[in-house]
């Protein structure tokens, strides 16, 4: 089995026909991880025993022809809780944390018959854009091991790109699925806020967090998203909707589709090579019969400061729960209750997490709330209105996912502000709660470029339609790290 040469539909057909078994597939997946992960370092924990047992169970039951995902292995970002499988959020704070329940998305994947093979590395508590903020290990970009895999879902993206697994889940608060997908040349999908339950996702910025997929191709993404969407009684922000197939329009032509290309997304700070690939993508959409026109999202430049105030404020509140009492890291030799809190938090959290807690606490504190939190929440409204205006006339927004291709390990980690600016093209989507994908749009100096496609709320189907048309018109997904194939 070679994950570079297959996809979910193919594996499913082979499983149903009895050409392969889930047990073999799962064993092969662990072999691929053993062969490649020593270098890539994408995984934090493997679930070999339980995965082997559930694969055997799937084989015994027989793979149903309607159960597209049954028997297929999946990797999970380590901020999504998995019952009995250590879940750390890549933090010393949770180094020994063993969840007593499964996240809703895990229940749903297991219901669909997927096999959870392990947990992937990330920036601590999903705070970062390079996975270098992990307290556990440094994950490498699958294409160039001297470069970062992006973040915060860097482990999930690198594992998929390296061919260790076909599919992984990630989470996206300000670009944490799309940016590592772009850096690793894979498909990253962030659904509309409210589409997927956040129950069991370790909270970072609760009004922004979304769980989505990292896959090698667009169709695989739609298959997995279809399994995890839908209202959940445990997350009252999930929106009840009739059953939908997000991939329903895959295969339809983009003839007549109206696509907006914001001028701010190709402006200052966007690398010339990246811009050229995105302009080429725009021409391809035109050649396929779509209209692509330049528009303006005038508040784009304010997205980064707005996001860092809102996300950090929410994080400072969410992370209050880590107090060293009921679970998580507790400092040794503490004499008073207050010092349990202070020392456990000071020793358990890494620097970037502390920085965000501090920024958030400051923004919400007496005397600064109006000037910081309230101001940011107002600018957030303006950023959402920019999209509403464009979506009155267009079906989709396109642009680069990131201003540059993957940067070097160590290049930005000491300079938080430069790191934050890297998220400027992905953050507006989270602030507005919209769905978006990143698909491979070719290469600059051998490193993948991400094309971002942003849709109207709950119109994931149009993103998948355009993404599949673009993917089919190119051979990018057949190019793999190390030039195999």
């Amino acid at each position: 089995m070679d994950y570079y040469k297959t996809n979910i539909d193919q594996l499913h057909a082979d499983l149903v026909a009895g050409k392969i078994t889930s047990a073999d597939l799962t064993a092969d997946t662990f072999k691929a991880i053993a062969a490649k992960d020593g270098e890539v370092q994408a995984f934090l924990a493997l679930n070999q025993e339980a995965a082997t047992a559930s694969a055997a169970n799937q084989d015994d039951q027989g793979i149903d022809a309607d159960a597209t995902l049954a028997g297929i292995p999946v990797a999970i970002k380590d901020n999504i809780v998995t019952k009995d499988l250590t879940t750390t959020a890549a933090s010393k704070m949770l180094a020994n944390f063993v969840p007593i329940y499964d996240a809703t998305v895990i229940e749903r994947l297991q219901q669909a018959g997927m096999i959870v093979v392990g947990k992937t590395n990330m920036d601590e508590f999903a705070m970062g854009s390079s996975t270098e903020n992990s307290a556990m290990k440094i994950t490498k970009n699958a294409w160039d091991h001297t470069k970062v895999p992006g973040g915060s879902s860097g482990g999930s993206a690198a594992a998929v790109a390296a061919g260790e697994v076909l599919v992984a889940l990630g989470s996206d608060t300000g670009g944490s699925i799309r940016q590592p997908a772009a850096f690793n040349g894979v498909v990253g999908f962030k659904p509309t806020y409210g589409r997927v339950s956040r129950w069991g996702l370790i909270a970072f910025g609760s009004s922004l967090d979304a769980i989505g997929t990292l896959t090698r191709n667009v169709r695989d993404s739609a298959h997995v998203m279809n399994a995890i969407i839908g209202a959940d009684e445990h997350d009252t922000t999930t929106v009840p909707r009739p059953q939908e197939d997000l991939g329903a329009k895959i295969g339809q032509s983009v003839q007549g589709m109206k696509i907006a290309l914001p001028k701010e997304y190709l402006g200052k700070g966007v690398d010339a090579g990246v811009r050229a690939q995105i302009e080429a993508a725009a021409d391809q959409f035109r050649a396929m019969g779509a209209t692509v026109e330049t528009v303006s999202l005038p508040h784009t430049q304010y997205a980064v400061p707005t996001y860092y105030i809102i996300a950090s404020s929410e994080a400072s509140s969410n992370l209050q729960r880590f107090d060293g009492i009921r679970y998580g890291f507790r400092a040794k030799d503490v004499q008073s209750l207050d010092s349990v809190y202070v020392r456990s938090r000071s020793e358990g959290f890494g620097d970037e997490v502390k920085r965000r807690i501090m920024l958030g606490t400051f923004s919400l504190s007496a005397g600064f709330y109006d000037a910081y939190f309230k101001k940011a929440a107002q600018v957030r409204t303006l950023i959402s209105r920019d999209f509403e205006n464009v979506f009155k006339e267009y079906d989709l927004v396109m642009g680069p996912t990131t201003p540059t291709t993957a940067f070097g390990i160590g290049a930005k980690v000491t300079d938080p502000l430069t790191m934050y600016m890297n998220d400027i093209l992905t953050i507006p989507v989270n602030l507005a709660g919209l769905p978006a994908a990143s698909v491979n749009a070719g290469f600059v100096d051998g490193m993948p470029v991400g094309l971002q496609l942003i849709g109207k709320a709950f119109d994931e189907a149009t993103i998948y339609q355009a993404a599949a048309a673009f993917e089919d018109a190119n051979d990018y997904k057949d190019q793999t790290p190390g030039g195999q194939n």
Partner: protein
């Protein structure tokens, strides 16, 4: 310009402690971040409502029915130290205040 003293105050609110050197370092970094954030002051937000969430739902209710919850032993599984089935913590009340 944020001062070291105000950063120390915020740290106290956030239940974090820093060495003097760390405090110096964080003050510099937070100052840079706040300078970036100050760009927002140039945006006219007169009369603009705040957005704190993007979901249109209101008052999501569930039926008021008793259900089984997680058993106590399970809930205690990740407790750092316990004694007689209770979570053990250092003394909460100072001896002098007894």
């Amino acid at each position: 310009m944020i001062t070291k003293e105000s950063v120390a105050h915020v740290a106290e609110l956030a239940k974090l402690q820093f060495t003097d050197e760390e405090l110096q370092h964080f003050t510099g970094q937070l100052d840079e971040i706040l300078n970036m954030v100050d760009q927002l002051s140039e945006v006219d937000t007169e009369g603009v409502p705040v957005t704190t969430q993007n979901v249109v739902l209101e008052n999501v209710l569930r039926a008021d029915e008793a259900t089984m919850v997680t058993p106590r032993d399970e809930l205690m599984r990740n407790v750092p130290t316990e004694k007689d089935g209770l979570i053990q913590v250092p003394a909460i009340i100072d001896k002098e205040e007894d």
